[in-house]
């Protein structure tokens, strides 16, 4: 299917970040990007070019669901919500990330 050129780590991490952000409740794409941006203390900048394909893929996989609603400025927008399957996926990915990052830290510390 699609030929994603990004490294696997980055893509996986983006999924993790999106799912994590959505734990705070339903939000639209822009809000997700903002949330990640703010939570990372403005280190991580999520481009729309990677954000939306990731959202659509997650939706297709059933990790998040979407419905339309009104944004804070009264515009129709698509709001994403994490599903049960998404919660499980998030837990898995968090654990994986945990292991990976500690492993990488250990290597760097050593």
């Amino acid at each position: 299917m699609g030929k994603a050129a990004q490294p696997a780590l980055l893509q996986g991490t983006l999924d993790l970040l999106i799912l994590h952000a959505l734990q705070r409740g339903a939000m639209h794409g822009y809000a997700i990007a903002q949330t990640i941006h703010l939570l990372s203390e403005e280190v991580l900048k999520v481009e729309e070019g990677s954000l939306y394909p990731a959202l659509w893929r997650l939706e297709l996989d059933g990790a998040i669901s979407a419905k339309s609603g009104l944004s804070e400025n009264n515009r129709k927008a698509k709001f994403y919500q994490i599903t049960k399957h998404g919660q499980k996926l998030l837990a898995d990915q968090e654990a994986t990330w945990e292991r990976l990052s500690t492993a990488v830290s250990r290597v760097l510390a050593g």
């Binding site: 299917m1 699609g2 659509w56 297709l60 927008a77 698509k78």
Partner: protein, 844 residues
């Protein structure tokens, strides 16, 4: 899976929202005064679409549409491909359905899988007591019997004619569950005087009027009530398209019956076999005969693949059809090679397009898929055309009246098997047509200048392959054609040109004794001989090529007590038979009045050679069998005639005087020799027969038309194989023409240069002819080698004196192929000669 369903469900909504969502994002970003994204919205949206699409299917669809658009621009290519593939698939499908019909068609009975044919001690037919014994044993759910070779006399009020009928047990229709179109089948409590008519008899004689049910017909002088009409597509238990006209209950005690039984649920063939052996052993006691019922017992299913396993003659037909399918498969292959060659030419036109596609990132698989779409489209259309063609030829086949003396109707109808086969052929031809050109096109586009020469070489190789396959197909076709010619040239050993044959079936009443029958024969023979233009007439029990009676007995020679096992054909004739049939009498004489009171025979020279052990034949006496004490004396030796097939080896034969035998048959043959064209004598002969016995059914034909059966196997074989061979030749020459035309077009500049620097017309012709000749000769050589190997097993279908390895055969095929190839080169050469060097050089 979940993805798939999600896609199906939410696809449309998703498509719509993608762009809205992106627009919203930009707006938000703008309004928050930061991070105005620089990404390409279209690309992002495209990513989104890709996620939601059924990529493979949609791409396929797009490719097909694109291919269709492209092909519309080259109608000639499409036409050539359609004709080639259509013919190829059509021939295959016709042979396939013909074979399926002959080999695997189900008889029209309920649950055909549980019906078996039973032959006690290998006898095809048994007396009705055997059936009754078997039925009372309770081994089988039902036991039915039929005698399918009865000829009954149907009198429609003005004329009596013989009709092929089946005598059945009364439970035949109910136990087998045979569907009827109108009325009902024969019921177990019906009287003897009922009849069920075949669809064609009903159409022919009653114009398809359903009210004929309930009317009475005069059959064999009995008034029988019509109780039902069979459906048009009724298939008999015997199969092979045999379609008798009338079914009625067996009413003579002496009628012997073929036994069929319905298995009880869950019963296997081996189990029923064991049971039948036990029944046979009890029958040996209850109905004693001079053989044992259970010895040589045969049980075979009547339908499906199981039948093939148990019946060996069906196997021979299967082999023939497998062979035919293989040959027609080769023809399809030729057609595919043609189309491949055309597509190859087209691929070079698309070189630029493919290069661009690769440059903007199309993957190999994706490209291959797109290139194969062309051939997929062509082969699908070709298969459809072919199936339509097969349907037309099936209709024609159904209408053809086969030149055989028994009613054969082949009911070929398209079914799921044909559809599957057609789809299989389409896929096969898609790969055969498309894979090579597609692969080549891709390779070429990657490094396009390197492969120019190589590609022309590939096309030439394709043509050589095509020529080779055609040679194989043509060799087979020609072999069968020669077989036919050989067979026609072989003399049957008697005169078929000036003779007329009348087959008469006497009514049962009034002809019960030998004396009554013989008096009738005598009267007919003398009346026929008295007809103007008739030189002589005779009667005979059997007519050669129309059935026969064979004996296998031990002859005892009283002179030295020697016993000699002998196997011979037998016939009983009136004295004028040899003269009428122009069978030369080599020694001695025919029967005469002085022979009365003594048993005399005429034998043929093959009988003398094989069994008399050097005795002087005339006057030799032998005893027939081990126990018969009657001496038979040889009074004459006749020349050998063929008895069943025109290609057979000489067979020993004994003729007895007709008035010497115990005549248990009501059927008799008359033959007369005419000085005027025999076709003119048919009416006078019919009138004589009608005058002497109006109740007798009579078939009068010229001998020539009535022994058509003898030529049938090789005729059909020659026709099928020959036409397939010609088709192959035609397709191959089209292919050759295409390649030569293409090559001339490509070499226009080169030829222009050659002419400009002084090459004459002869040089140009030599250049191109040499080109074509090299390819053709290579193909012919390869083809002949292959043909030499693959035609070996054909020997079983050929008349003696003709071998598959006959050099003449190969020579003719090679010359024909070469000549065709040169002819196909003609037009391109003419075009090459017209090349004007000035304009050719200006090109490009």
């Amino acid at each position: 899976m979940f993805r798939f369903l999600q896609k199906l469900r939410r696809r449309r909504a998703m498509y719509q929202s993608i762009e809205d969502e992106l627009a919203f994002h930009r707006e938000m970003a703008a309004s928050h005064d930061n991070l105005i994204p620089l990404g390409n919205t279209a690309v992002i949206a495209e990513h989104g679409y890709a996620l939601w699409r059924f990529n493979f299917l949609e791409n396929l669809w797009r490719d097909l549409v694109y291919a269709a658009r492209g092909l519309r621009r080259s109608p000639l290519l499409v036409l050539a491909a359609l004709v080639s593939l259509g013919l190829g698939v059509g021939v295959n499908a016709t042979m396939f359905s013909l074979g399926m019909e002959l080999l695997f068609s189900q008889p029209s009975v309920r649950d055909a899988g549980s019906v078996v044919a039973i032959r006690f001690s290998g006898n095809s037919h048994s007396p009705h007591q055997v059936l009754e014994f078997l039925a009372s044993s309770g081994l089988l759910a039902d036991v039915v019997g039929e005698n399918e070779e009865v000829i009954s006399n149907y009198n429609d009020g003005t004329e009596t004619r013989p009709v092929f009928s089946v005598f059945t047990t009364k439970n035949y229709f109910t136990a087998l569950g045979i569907p009827v179109l109108y009325g009902r089948g024969i019921a177990p409590d019906d009287p003897d005087e009922v009849a069920v008519l075949s669809y064609s008899f009903w159409r022919q004689h009653f114009g398809g009027d359903p009210s004929v049910v309930g009317r009475t017909l005069n059959l064999d002088g009995r008034m029988c009530t019509v109780v039902g009409i069979l459906p048009e597509h009724h298939r008999t238990l015997i199969g092979f398209g045999y379609s008798p006209e009338i079914y009625m209950p067996r009413y003579l005690d002496s009628t012997i019956l073929a036994i069929y039984g319905r298995l009880k649920p869950g019963m296997s063939i081996p189990a029923v076999r064991a049971g039948l052996i036990a029944v046979g052993k009890r029958m040996d006691q209850a109905l004693p005969v001079d053989y044992k019922y259970e010895e040589g017992l045969q049980v075979s299913p009547v339908a499906g693949y199981a039948r093939l396993k148990y019946e060996s003659d069906t196997l021979a037909i299967a082999v023939f059809f497998a062979l035919l399918l293989a040959v027609t498969g080769l023809v399809l292959l030729i057609a595919c090679v043609n189309v491949a060659s055309l597509l190859l030419a087209r691929a070079s036109e698309r070189r630029r397009e493919i290069a661009i596609r690769i440059a903007i990132g199309a993957s190999r698989g994706r490209l291959l898929q797109q290139l194969l779409a062309d051939s997929l489209l062509l082969s699908l259309a070709g298969a459809c055309a072919g199936l339509a063609l097969a349907e037309i030829s099936a209709q024609m086949l159904a209408r053809i009246h086969l030149p055989v003396p028994i009613p054969i109707r082949l009911q070929i109808s398209p079914d799921w098997r044909l559809a599957i086969y057609g789809a299989f052929l389409a896929v096969l031809s898609m790969l055969a047509c498309g894979l090579l050109p597609a692969w080549q096109a891709m390779k070429e586009s990657i490094a396009h200048n390197l492969h120019r020469e190589k590609k022309m070489r590939l096309r030439r190789a394709l043509v050589a392959v095509e020529v080779a396959i055609s040679v194989v197909v043509l060799t087979m076709g020609f072999l069968f054609l020669r077989n036919l010619m050989h067979a026609s040239a072989l003399s049957p050993g008697f005169d078929v040109v000036h003779t007329i044959r009348a087959n008469v079936n006497l009514p049962p009443s009034g002809y019960t004794t030998n004396v009554q029958k013989y008096a009738y024969f005598d009267r007919v023979v003398s009346s026929l001989a008295a007809l103007p233009g008739v030189e002589s007439a005779a009667a005979a029990r059997v007519m050669p090529f129309n059935g026969g009676t064979h004996f296998m007995v031990d002859l005892t020679f009283p002179d030295n007590g020697q016993k000699q096992g002998a196997r011979f054909d037998w016939n009983a004739v009136t004295p004028g038979f040899f003269q009428t049939m122009s069978i030369p009498m080599l020694q001695g004489r025919t029967f005469a009045a002085v022979d009365r009171g003594e048993h005399v025979v005429v034998v043929n020279s093959e009988f003398v050679r094989q069994y008399l052990g050097g005795r002087q034949p005339l006057g030799t006496v032998f005893l027939w069998g081990r126990y018969d004490k009657t001496p038979y004396r040889i009074v004459g030796v006749a020349a050998v005639t063929k008895t069943m097939t025109i290609g057979e080896e000489p067979k020993p034969q004994i003729y007895e005087p007709l008035d010497q035998i115990d005549n248990d048959r009501r059927e008799i043959e008359f033959v007369m020799r005419s000085a005027i064209p025999p076709g003119l004598q048919l009416e006078p002969v019919r009138r004589v027969l009608h005058r002497i016995e109006p109740m007798a059914g009579a078939e009068v034909h010229t001998m020539y038309s009535s022994i058509g059966l003898a030529f049938l196997p090789s005729q059909v074989g020659a026709l099928l194989m020959g036409s397939t061979g010609v088709l192959g030749l035609l397709l191959a020459s089209i292919g050759l023409y295409g390649v030569m035309a293409f090559s001339v077009a490509r070499r226009t500049r080169e030829i222009g240069v050659r002419v400009a620097i002084g090459a004459g017309r002869a040089d140009v012709v030599r250049l191109l002819l040499g080109d074509s000749a090299r390819v053709t000769l290579a193909g012919i050589a390869a083809g002949l080698l292959t043909a030499l190997l693959v035609t070996k097993p054909l020997a079983m279908f050929l008349v003696p004196g003709l071998t598959p390895g006959d050099p003449l055969n190969f020579l003719v095929v090679a010359v024909a192929m070469f000549a065709t190839a040169l002819a196909a080169t003609g037009n391109p050469i003419l075009r090459a000669l017209k090349i004007d060097p000035a304009s050719a050089l200006r090109e490009d």
